[in-house]
């Protein structure tokens, strides 16, 4: 059986279509898909277990700590494979402020807000670079503006792509709406723990 790459991408990356972008061409076989899936599963499954075994069996605490870090990285990779990119990133790096908390997923780097154009207007030149084989899609994309707005519906595909890659929003909705009290209590607990750690570790001076 031969897979159509475009159909696979449409299934696995539903929000990545956009007007005027040339999509990759090619066909992959079922054996290639199975081999890739098996390889990724084997690597992701064996590396945390092996790292954890090496972590437990080391006598030196430094070597054990380094193997524990390796285990954490492997578990973060498993988070990514389980579609929990936000948790995986928190596990490895923590939240960074330079990209405004957005998580790049599936190979798409976040665009800077200053250069992003969320509501482009529809024009003939905007769709001039669309290949001929996308003619029907491009005409559908640019000939039907949003009702009542006059904006190009290319922004709709861009917004759909952005929403599909946004893995922070569901977690944030739970944290800041459903579990807000628990979130606040946890933050106070962390603050108290940090203060207590400083007090406990402070060297006592003789009066």
């Amino acid at each position: 059986m031969v897979y159509d790459l475009e159909r696979l991408m449409a299934q696995t990356h539903p929000g990545e279509r956009r007007c005027g972008t040339r999509r990759p061409e090619g066909r992959v076989t079922e054996a290639y898909v199975d081999q890739s899936r098996g390889t990724s599963t084997t690597c992701s499954a064996s590396s945390p277990v092996a790292s954890a075994l090496l972590f437990v069996t080391r006598k030196s605490p430094v070597a054990a700590a380094l193997w524990l870090v390796s285990t954490m990285f492997a578990i973060a990779g498993m988070y990514v494979l389980l579609d929990a990119q936000f948790v995986g990133r928190v596990q490895v790096l923590g939240l960074r402020r330079r990209d405004h908390g957005r998580v790049p997923v599936r190979g798409h780097a976040p665009q800077p807000r200053a250069t992003a154009t969320p509501w482009p207007t529809c024009s003939a030149t905007a769709c001039a670079s669309v290949p001929a084989r996308w003619g029907s899609r491009s005409s559908r994309c640019c000939s039907r503006p949003w009702p009542g707005t006059g904006r190009c519906s290319a922004s709709r595909s861009r917004r759909r792509r952005r929403d599909a890659g946004n893995v922070v929003a569901p977690v944030a909705a739970v944290l800041f709406r459903e579990q807000l009290l628990a979130f606040e209590i946890t933050s106070v607990l962390l603050l108290a723990a940090v203060v207590g750690a400083v007090v406990l570790a402070k060297r006592r001076t003789a009066p």
């Binding site: 499954a45 954890a52 437990v56 605490p61 977690v171 946890t186």
Partner: protein, 99 residues
């Protein structure tokens, strides 16, 4: 990745952490084994969250990470205090609370 495989790996990691807690006598490695157990629980949270199609499991992972960070901070401070008092972090030699 399959959910069952993730849960199996989570169980294996948790067992490795339990074995480390029961067999090792170094307090630092003991704490790291507890961290490994917490990460195994986090992995099962994420896998079950994907199984049920919600983000509540991922939110709980954030909570667990925060509590683990607090526990590590206080635990390491206690270990530092113990090392200053006894000169070692070997749990067999620390018998201050022995009855």
């Amino acid at each position: 990745m399959m959910i069952g495989e993730a849960l199996l790996i989570s169980a294996v990691l948790f067992v490795i952490g339990v074995v480390g807690v029961l067999t090792r006598r170094n307090a630092l490695i003991l704490f790291m084994c507890v961290e490994l157990m917490l990460n195994a629980v986090n992995l099962s949270f994420v896998a079950l969250s994907r199984l049920h199609g919600g983000a509540l499991g991922q939110a709980f992972v954030v909570f667990v990470m925060t509590v683990a960070a607090a526990e590590s901070a206080v635990g390491l401070a206690i270990i530092i205090a113990v090392y200053r008092h006894f000169g070692t972090v070997d749990l067999d030699r620390i018998n201050l609370l022995r009855g």
